[in-house]
Symmetry: C2
Subunit: 110 residues, 2 copies
């Protein structure tokens, strides 16, 4: 309640919002997390669920997210290959963000 009075000043890199945006701020990042959601989904299905994304961006972001520990990747040594993606615990923690984005879009944008 006295939150209005505190100085909200985060010097550069210590701001949690900035740190989050640094990882999740890509054009497609949050959309990908949103589509994976609680599912275990194959690469091809994921790609189809995000119309307009290029293979490069999808793979790039997925690798990025796997490295960062937000997405788990499981590859089956079959032919033809099958690769499944899902959110880790850490990745699930980002779902409130996309939920609030979705809610905002529904209520405030045409």
């Amino acid at each position: 309640m006295e939150k209005n009075n505190i100085q909200i000043r985060q010097s550069d890199e210590h701001c949690p919002v900035r740190k989050s945006l640094a990882i999740l701020g890509g054009k497609w990042t949050l959309l990908i997390l949103f589509q994976i959601n609680k599912r275990i989904i194959r690469y091809g299905d994921l790609k189809r669920s995000i119309p307009g994304i290029s293979e490069k961006m999808l793979i790039q972001e997925l690798n990025h997210l796997v490295e960062a520990g937000f997405v788990a990747k499981k590859a089956y040594p079959e032919i033809p290959p099958r690769v499944e993606y899902s959110l880790t615990e850490k990745g699930m923690n980002a779902l409130p963000i996309v939920d609030s984005l979705a809610a905002f879009g529904l209520e405030n944008l045409s």
Copy 2:
């Protein structure tokens, strides 16, 4: 609970997440909303509260947000000039987004 089964497929422009990202997806946009927050803040103070932003980007995003109806701008015809920015109702609705971003950053990033 059967949410896992439904096809989460938004064809392009109807996806609320995409619509939100289209407006709020800029590098500085959410950070600006976060800093204004519930305050009525002058341009100079706002700029100082976001280290690293250029005047151009700040003004550009502010104008953008004013046009979109998320930010209110009040200019006083004084010398030297004074301009105050604050969030509109609509802009307040975006605060849950930055809150979840902040929470995510605090809990999941170093």
